[in-house]
């Protein structure tokens, strides 16, 4: 089966600019997550979707970050305006109830964002 697709792979922007990341989860996976991974740290959850509804966005900086999952499939994560501290790898992951009980979550390769 195809994996979790993310694009772009890399992005360099200036501070105060906006940027958007796209994620296409594994077909049939109802749950989708966006994680932020700062260099040298473990990933931190930004937002979790169940189908097209938000389950947890408690750690999403809502003044600058937004995310949506239209029709419960693809998702986009947007940052506007970007700050230097947003430089990180943004990882998308998906899972199903059946998979999560034994095989965990499937992660995409991530988008490496550099804010200069």
């Amino acid at each position: 089966e195809a994996g979790v697709a993310q694009s772009p792979r890399y992005k360099i922007i200036e501070k105060r600019q906006s940027v958007a990341f796209w994620c296409n989860p594994i077909s049939g996976h109802a749950t989708l997550y966006w994680y932020q991974q700062i260099l040298g740290q473990g990933p931190k959850l930004l937002i979790q979707f169940q189908n097209n509804g938000v389950v947890d966005d408690s750690q999403l900086p809502k003044d600058r970050f937004s995310a949506e999952r239209l029709k419960g499939v693809d998702s986009t994560l947007k940052i506007q305006p970007a700050k230097l501290e947003d430089s990180a790898v943004y990882l998308c992951a998906s899972t199903s109830l059946r998979q999560s009980g034994e095989y965990g979550y499937t992660f995409g390769s991530g988008t490496r964002l550099t804010v200069v």
């Binding site: 740290q41 473990g42 999560s100 965990g104 979550y105 992660f107 390769s109």
Partner: protein
């Protein structure tokens, strides 16, 4: 916020040796998972252990879980150069819920 800590932060061994990584966490969990991350890549799921399990094996991997001590260990036996990567433990409060990751252990296996 990070759930817990991993120890050691970095580990360097020779090919053929065993590698042991430890993970501690703070709150009660439903499951604990281990992931591998090669440089510049996404995370790959290795193994999941439920809170009512004490030990689990998968190929060269052995995971233990001690819920009384809120700790887990990952053992990689007969390591290979291809095992060089960062290893993360992650805890889930319920099946399908968010995972909280540790800081990771950077493993280097020298040929």
């Amino acid at each position: 916020s990070q759930q817990g800590e991993e120890d050691p932060q970095a580990l360097s061994i020779q090919e053929g040796e065993n590698a042991t990584m430890n993970c501690s966490y703070k709150t009660s969990i439903n499951n604990l998972q281990w992931y591998r991350q090669n440089s510049g890549r996404g995370l790959v799921h290795l193994i999941l252990i439920r809170s009512n399990e004490r030990e689990k094996h998968s190929g060269r991997l052995r995971v233990t879980l001690d819920t009384s001590k809120k700790s887990s260990s990952l053992l990689i036996t007969a390591s290979r150069a291809a095992d060089t990567a960062s290893y993360f433990c992650a805890t889930g409060n319920f099946q399908g819920g968010k995972l909280i990751f540790g800081q990771g252990t950077e493993l280097s296996v020298k040929p």
